[in-house]
């Protein structure tokens, strides 16, 4: 359905970020994933009577690190509260979270849009809380299975101001947050494992009018789904309004497989969470000294890394942006550049051949079969003339398929560029002797035509040497001899 006139879209995000601690936020239980259900559910996580929570220092420090990275105010005192609701994967009957006094106050994040424009998205606040367990609806013949391994895993919930005006802004902001938390090392950033989850608040209005009623689409766990879910919900709201209807404030669930969303029919009173300060936990105090130490220890952040790539490696802003955005890509690129001794070549390979292969096989760069060290070795061989760029692609392919290091592949498959001019000369002589007609043709041509016609001989030599001859050297020899 086509929409008439201008509509403005207003988007705010709530982002849940799982903190990469060893143990849970209120208990010394492992946060490891991938094990059998309920192997990491201690008496505290199970909400057994008589147990008491003790706060994990590293969770506090990670939240502060995030706050410092987005220039936010860090609360010297923050308070945990109970958010009360009943759900089987929440054994205590309340989630321990923060409300009135969160640890991270107002801050901001600058994002870059595709057209190069920059935009600031303000952070309203970020608070610490515990994750819930998992409800498994399959395989339990009509019942629901509860796995509490995740219950109590530390989260920060980052709440943005409604500063985004479309899917592009929202995705750029989400990606930037991903880049920041992974650069800080406070989150593993594996979206497929739910390390980061997004709730998107969306409303639309005519320009100049007050904010429209918003809906919340919950639990999006990929950038692509986020983009699609926003487009879907914006279109739905405009349809409803243009048909004279009203937007109902509600929570919606998006299904990525079908690209559809539905309203979660939650009871009206379900949202009465009756927050109150948790009597089991004292206010968390953070000293100036501690904040200063964390500030001094902050690792390089994405913006600084990008600036360094432009400065140190002379990369274009576009390339620097692509390579610095994800910490995994950045680490890979820097290692390859260092081992290869050529940052530009490394950049081209990482964004070209490697990215294409990773994409084709749906692999993450951290799982690349070609290690950064191996790519560096390949670049070295390319630089010192051991192999041509055509052969380099062949070596890369072999390395990807697990046939060993580039040096071993070059050696084992005899791919070294022919540098012995004596041997090459023989082949050139042979090619000339075998092609009297073409030689005649070449000699009768003028300079401009000769340049074209020499291609035939180069091709023949490359064929005879199986691509191992240095094309420049071949050209030179041919010109001398013809």
């Amino acid at each position: 359905m086509s929409h008439s006139g201008n509509w403005e879209v207003v988007i705010g995000l709530e982002v849940h970020v799982q903190l990469a601690t060893e143990s849970k936020i209120f208990s010394g239980t492992s946060t490891r994933t991938g094990d059998e259900p309920n192997r990491h559910a201690s008496l505290i996580d199970l909400g057994m009577p008589g147990t008491l929570p003790v706060v994990n220092k590293e969770a506090i420090r990670n939240a502060i690190r995030f706050g410092l990275a987005v220039n936010a105010d860090i609360a010297r005192r923050s308070v945990f509260e109970r958010k009360n609701y009943f759900y089987p994967d929440l054994p205590k009957g309340y989630q321990t979270t923060q409300l009135a006094e969160p640890i991270v106050g107002a801050g901001e994040v600058e994002v870059q849009l595709e057209n190069g424009d920059k935009k600031v998205v303000r952070i309203h606040h970020a608070h610490l809380e515990e994750d819930a367990g998992k409800s498994l609806h399959e395989d339990f013949h009509g019942q629901t299975g509860i796995d509490l391994n995740r219950a109590g895993t530390p989260l920060i919930e980052i709440v943005s101001e409604p500063d985004m005006s479309g899917a592009e802004d929202a995705v750029a902001f989400a990606r930037k947050l991903h880049s920041i938390v992974t650069s800080l090392g406070i989150c593993d950033g594996d979206m497929s494992q739910g390390n980061m989850r997004f709730d998107v608040n969306i409303s639309v209005r005519r320009p100049g009018e007050p904010l429209g009623t918003r809906t919340e689409t919950k639990n999006l766990n990929s950038f692509r789904f986020m983009e699609k879910a926003i487009a879907l919900e914006v279109a739905r709201q405009i349809d409803v309004l243009e048909d004279g209807g009203e937007i109902v404030q509600e929570t919606r669930l998006y299904n990525g497989e079908t690209n559809t969303a539905r309203s979660m029919r939650t009871k009206e009173d379900a949202n009465d969470y009756r927050y109150f300060p948790c009597p089991d936990l004292l206010p968390v105090m953070v000293s100036e000294e501690e904040i200063q130490t964390l500030r001094d220890e902050l690792p390089e952040l994405p913006d600084a890394r990008k600036a360094r790539y432009i400065e140190q490696y002379q990369l274009s802003a576009y390339d620097a942006d692509l390579l610095s955005g994800s910490i995994a890509t950045a680490r890979y690129f820097e290692t390859a550049a260092e081992h290869g001794g050529d940052a530009k070549l490394a950049a081209n390979w990482v964004m070209g051949e490697l990215a294409a292969k990773l994409n084709a096989e749906d692999k993450d760069i951290s799982d690349s079969p070609v290690s950064a060290e191996h790519l560096g070795e390949l670049i070295q061989r390319l630089k010192d003339g051991t192999i041509s760029s055509k052969i380099a692609k062949q070596v890369f392919e072999a390395c990807w398929n697990g046939e060993g290091s580039p040096d071993r592949i070059i050696e084992a498959q005899g791919l070294k560029q022919m540098s012995d001019s004596g041997e090459l000369e023989k082949i050139v002589d042979q090619v000339i002797a075998d092609s009297p007609a073409q030689v005649e043709d070449y000699r009768n041509a003028d300079d401009a035509k000769r340049k074209k016609k020499i291609g035939f001989f180069v091709g023949q030599v490359m064929k005879a040497t199986q691509g191992k001859a240095n094309p420049q050297q071949v050209n030179q020899l041919l010109q001398q001899k013809l």
Binding site: N38, S42, N56, K57, E58, V79, L136, H137, G145, V284
Partner: protein, 95 residues
């Protein structure tokens, strides 16, 4: 705010407490008494007073990020009314 039987019923539902209709009248009267006391407290001048999160003037001790809790699954799972494949079983929950 005055508490009537409807509010009592709702509060009871949120807390998953079974409250008989015959009890709501008395409960609302008692809750209203408590709220009367709260109203009295509201009159105190607290402009210069920080909100209190905890009566003790100490801050939260923190623990190091180490795994210290053992796996207790084999002890606790049998205590549940039903379990299967390492999971606690509950009546089907559909969102």
């Amino acid at each position: 705010m005055a508490i009537d039987s409807k509010v009592v019923a709702r509060a009871a539902h949120l807390a998953r407490l079974r409250v008989d209709d015959s009890e709501t009248a008395e409960l609302s009267a008692r809750l209203n008494d408590i709220l009367g006391m709260v109203d009295q407290l509201q009159q105190a001048d607290v402009d210069q007073v920080e909100p209190l999160a905890h009566p003790l003037e100490v801050s939260q001790p923190l623990r190091d990020d180490r795994v210290t809790e053992p796996d207790v699954r084999d002890k606790v799972l049998p205590l549940a009314p039903a379990s299967e494949d390492g999971c606690f079983l509950v009546p089907r929950v559909i969102e």
